[in-house]
């Protein structure tokens, strides 16, 4: 157990055993699959038309936003060029893969999910997963056909973030009880306000930078304590999303192995 917990020496045994366990997981997931399939194939023509219309409108809106983004990107590159900034803006598309969360329950004490992609899809340990609204977590165990992800609200999960408004850096640790996060070791006079958006900082070389993590909902400053208590509500809908994106981040020249990530364990 110590070997597993501290050194991850038993990963091979675990992924071998998961060959036995994976079919069980898929069978358990079957009713949900059937339900989704039925819900998908037994809808009326009008509903589909409506949905198609909404999606088209949404697509138009997103395209319009993307145009704006392109011009902003050019402007940003220009300004950076004028300032001779060392930091190059790179427009790199991260490689992504859509995975589905299997509807299996794990330990109720922990915040973990099982997704239906594994080592046969080149998933690796420590890989970030994101939802439509923000960062969700990272992969901790992989089997051939499924893998387990630790959510950002787990007590053993920490994620390096920065405030979008002023780039104050912080570390957000999970509070599993309320599905929230807490910014740790922030002094009482830190420049963080309620409703600030926190994005990943890209430090630690696990999560790519710039993805939204959460919004500050509550700040308690107690002068008798050394640090402020800052509560963050994650933007991603951690318990509602069925589909997640697996991201293969690109950290410029840095290789993943060059830098150690934040503390993690199973």
């Amino acid at each position: 157990m110590v070997l597993d917990h501290r050194f991850h020496a038993t990963d091979a045994i675990r992924s071998t055993l998961s060959i036995v366990v994976d079919p069980i997981r898929y069978v358990v997931n079957l009713p949900t699959d059937i339900k989704n399939w039925a819900a998908g194939s037994l809808v009326s023509h009008t509903t589909l038309e409506d949905e198609n219309q909404t999606l088209k409108t949404q697509n138009q809106l997103l395209k319009a936003k993307l145009q704006k983004y392109a011009s902003l990107k050019a402007e940003n590159a220009n300004l950076r060029g004028l300032l001779k900034s060392a930091k190059k803006y790179e427009d790199k598309l991260e490689q992504v893969l859509i995975a589905e969360i299997l509807s299996v329950d794990l330990d109720p004490f922990r915040r973990k999910v099982v997704i239906n992609k594994g080592s046969s899809h080149d998933v690796y340990i420590g890989q970030p997963i994101i939802g439509a609204q923000g960062v969700m977590g990272k992969i901790i165990h992989i089997g051939p056909l499924s893998s387990t992800a630790l959510m950002i609200t787990d007590a053993n999960h920490s994620i390096p973030v920065q405030v979008n408004r002023n780039n104050v850096r912080a570390i957000a640790m999970g509070i599993p009880k309320n599905n929230q996060l807490e910014l740790i070791h922030q002094p009482n006079n830190a420049d963080i306000k309620v409703d600030d958006l926190l994005v990943t900082s890209g430090l630690g070389c696990i999560f790519p930078g710039g993805y939204p993590v959460g919004r500050v909902t509550d700040i308690t400053t107690n002068l008798s304590l050394p640090f402020a208590k800052i509560i963050v509500q994650p933007t991603a809908q951690l318990d509602k999303n069925r589909e997640v994106l697996l991201v293969w981040p690109d950290f410029g020249g840095n290789k993943q192995s060059d830098c150690r990530g934040p503390e993690e364990d199973s």
Partner: protein, 162 residues
Amino acid sequence: MAVAQRQGGLIIILSFVVALMLSIIDLPNWAEEIRPQWVVLVLIYWSMALPQRISVGTGWVMGLLLDVTNSAILGQNALALAFIAFLTAHLHQRLRVFPFWQQAIVIFVFCIIFNLIVLWIKGISGSAPNVWLIITPSFTSAIFWPLVFISLRRIRRSYHVK
């Protein structure tokens, strides 16, 4: 002791697979906290009925599988289940003559022991679980015990599992 003819291994494996499935099937949040510990119940039944066959070794293997399905630390459920299998195999003659309600009380105690071992390992490894959550699943396990007992006994007799 004469070597009894062994049969019905498939039935035993099947019952454990069903127990594993029940223990990860998706439940609403309120029900998750009172989910009976199916694997523990099935293991207790088999090591009570066939202690010469199902005992610590099976408990250990099932525990490892449960660890992988729950993606817990490898060994935490294995240790606890092996201990429960040992206790049951040790006390099987006494347990067999108990009436249902008395068996259910013993099962309650066994589940608490199981949860305590798991909680202890979790505490050492740094996650801080809610202590109350060890009582509720033990209680529902005890309530579901007669159901597990009667159905598994019927299965064992009709398939002549020895």
